[in-house]
């Protein structure tokens, strides 16, 4: 499976450039509650990396550090080799265009139609004219398998699955290299979540994306992830493929692996 990534990145980059996200010695604390202590993690180009752990162990916090919403107390988060928090504004904005985020609830702009939601980041570039934007929005809608007639709907009129698809289309609007998904299948029925995972996998292949996601859903994990990073006791205690988890001797990982083994066997 990992071979896809090599096909999609035919450029001869230095090894450093193949690390899309590099988290170095990150410490986070909320008051007395230490969430991360000297945490290290690397996301390589072409990975589909799942971040797992108990509820409240700081997965979403780590995700927010990565996309630059919050800043760790100490340590560095390097995206594409650069630190988002130590950059000049224009460069920072350009760097932020290189990743797309799908929030758990979709985070669509509720006052804008589906069309305007997807067109929003494209218009903000101020490079493209309206007819080009129209074509690109229709292209993104087709990518996430939505009909052009859905373009005029408002977010409140969409079903849960459609909200996720529109959110994904908006995240993909600027052709990002890294796609960050927070609970991509939360709130979807099994059938839809299965479709959504297939969609993400297919897009990952066709657009050459790197995918980083957080999930609680074992089915999503087993069918989408190629690598897992287990966040436990303020550290990443495992960073390997799903099968390799079997060899790790840690109570949480053992428990965890048992619950996904049956699913892996089914695949």
């Amino acid at each position: 499976m990992n071979d896809d990534s090599i096909e999609n990145t035919p450029r001869e980059n230095s090894p450093d450039q193949d690390v899309i996200c590099d988290i170095q010695n990150v410490c986070t604390e909320f008051g007395d509650n230490i969430v991360h202590h000297n945490l290290n993690l690397k996301v390589k180009r072409g990975d589909i990396l799942a971040l797992v752990g108990r509820s409240g162990c700081g997965k979403t916090t780590l995700l927010r550090h990565i996309i630059g919403l919050t800043k760790p107390q100490s340590g560095k988060v390097l995206l594409f080799g650069q630190n988002l928090h130590a950059m000049e504004r224009v460069a920072q904005r350009r760097l932020m265009n290189r990743f797309g985020v799908l929030f758990q609830q979709g985070a669509l702009f509720s006052a804008l139609s589906v069309y305007d939601n997807i067109a929003f980041p494209l218009r903000e570039l101020k490079q493209l004219d309206e007819s080009t934007i129209y074509q690109l929005v229709m292209h993104k809608l087709a990518l996430v398998e939505l009909e052009p007639r859905n373009a005029d709907l408002l977010p409140a009129e969409l079903s849960g699955g459609m909200v996720k698809r529109v959110g994904l289309a908006r995240a993909l609007a600027l052709e990002p290299e890294l796609l960050v998904l927070d609970e991509p299948t939360a709130g979807l029925d099994p059938d839809r979540s299965h479709n959504f995972i297939d969609l993400v996998k297919q897009l990952k292949k066709s657009l050459g994306l790197t995918v980083l996601f957080v999930t609680h859903d074992m089915d999503t994990l087993a069918s989408l992830a190629e690598r897992v990073a287990v966040l436990e006791e303020k550290h990443i205690i495992a960073d390997c493929s799903l099968q390799e988890l079997a060899g790790i001797d840690h109570p949480f990982v053992i428990n965890f692996f048992q619950s996904i083994r049956s699913r892996l066997e089914r695949l």
Binding site: S110, A111, L128, S131, T132, L136, M138, H139, E175
Partner: protein
């Protein structure tokens, strides 16, 4: 990463050959498609230009779409490209085109707009009457089952829209009183009619200014808060959750707000009027040397006490109008941010207009009393 670029050559027949290089993709931060399109414009117009896309490192939908719009949204034989890029171009070409814009002017549009506006106001009006009716039904229900009265919410609303409003109404009332007292003292002094300051300030503040000032402040402060609160409760489905528990939303959400504000508004009127009068007395003391003792001893002699009753009745009505309008707009909010902000604005504007309308009507009704 190589930014998008191109090279132009001319052959012996005078035809241009444009060769594209680099990554024609939004991923390269330094790419500027608007600039590229402008530079390529002369070659887009010249239909004999030959295009060579074989050297492109990477092409994404944005790059392809920019080129396509220059080529008139079609591929022709002058364009040579790699098969994988042809797939992307063909996908883009086959997408739905934007609907043709309607040309010509619709002369009936203003009339349509007017009609829609009238219907919209009618709709508001019927819904408002409906809300008022539901409120009366709930009150009738409460008379039969007084134990269901939402005391806790009622008292919370009195605290939020009454007690918390005390400092701001006092401060603004006092300041307006000082300004009015100062200006009137100046005028009256030129006529040597110093003593009438008590009549003018007393009557205008107690009868008109106090209640209206209170209503405007409360509409801005508590009315907007009520609309926004009910609106967010709708957006987050809390109203539906209440209904499924068998609790009437009117009884639990609207009634305590309306009754709470109706109850507390006359008290706020009393409080605001007192501070405004105090401000007026302060200014007359400074300007005309009228002592506080004299001011407040003389006040009941020149302003009939019935004016105080009128002002309390006004407070009752204004509180009711502000709260009911706020709830009406809150319940109409649709689950998006635009609707929330529009409704909150409309709520405050309508409440203040309603208060002034009611005030005018009441002034006509009571024109023979107390003056």
């Amino acid at each position: 990463m190589a930014a998008a670029s191109f090279r132009v050559a001319q052959d012996n027949q005078g035809r241009h050959h444009v060769q594209l290089f680099g990554q024609w993709s939004l991923r390269v931060p330094s790419n500027d498609f608007a600039k590229l399109k402008k530079l390529l414009q002369p070659f887009f117009i010249d239909i004999s230009t030959r295009w060579d896309l074989n050297e492109i490192e990477q092409l994404d939908a944005a790059g392809a779409s920019t080129l396509l719009s220059g080529w008139g949204n079609k591929l022709d034989s002058n364009i040579s490209l790699r098969p994988e890029h042809a797939v992307l171009f063909n996908t883009l070409i086959n997408l739905e085109r934007p609907p043709a814009k309607k040309t010509g002017r619709n002369w009936l549009a203003p009339l349509n707009g007017l009609g829609k506006g009238v219907l919209h106001i009618m709709h508001h009006f019927t819904e408002f009457i409906h809300l008022f009716g539901s409120l009366l039904i709930e009150i009738a229900y409460l008379i039969r089952r007084p134990q269901d009265f939402p005391w806790r919410e009622f008292s919370a609303n009195i605290y939020k829209s009454g007690v918390n409003a005390l400092p701001v109404t006092a401060l603004l009332g006092f300041m307006i009183g000082v300004v009015m007292g100062y200006l009137m003292s100046k005028q009256l002094h030129t006529f040597g009619a110093d003593i009438y300051i008590v009549n003018i300030l007393g009557l205008s503040i107690i009868r008109e200014l106090g209640p209206v000032l209170m209503a405007v402040l409360v509409a801005g402060r508590s009315g907007s808060a009520m609309t926004a609160q009910i609106g967010v409760m709708r957006v987050t489905d809390e109203i539906d959750a209440l209904t499924t528990m068998g609790i009437s939303r009117i009884l639990r959400v609207v009634l305590p707000k309306v009754l709470g504000l109706t109850f507390v508004a006359p008290l706020l009127v009393l409080w605001t009027s007192s501070w405004t009068l105090a401000g007026g007395a302060f200014a007359s003391n400074l300007e005309l040397g009228i002592s506080f003792r004299f001011f407040f001893d003389y006040l009941p002699l020149v302003v009939q006490p019935v004016n105080l009753t009128l002002s309390l009745i006004k407070g009752l009505m204004f509180g009711f109008v502000v709260a009911l309008v706020a709830c009406h707009f809150g319940l109409r909010i649709k689950p998006n941010t635009e609707s929330l902000s529009n409704s909150t604005t409309s709520s405050v504007v309508t409440a203040i207009s309603g208060v002034i309308l009611v005030n005018a009507w009441f002034a006509i009704l009571t024109r023979g009393i107390g003056v």
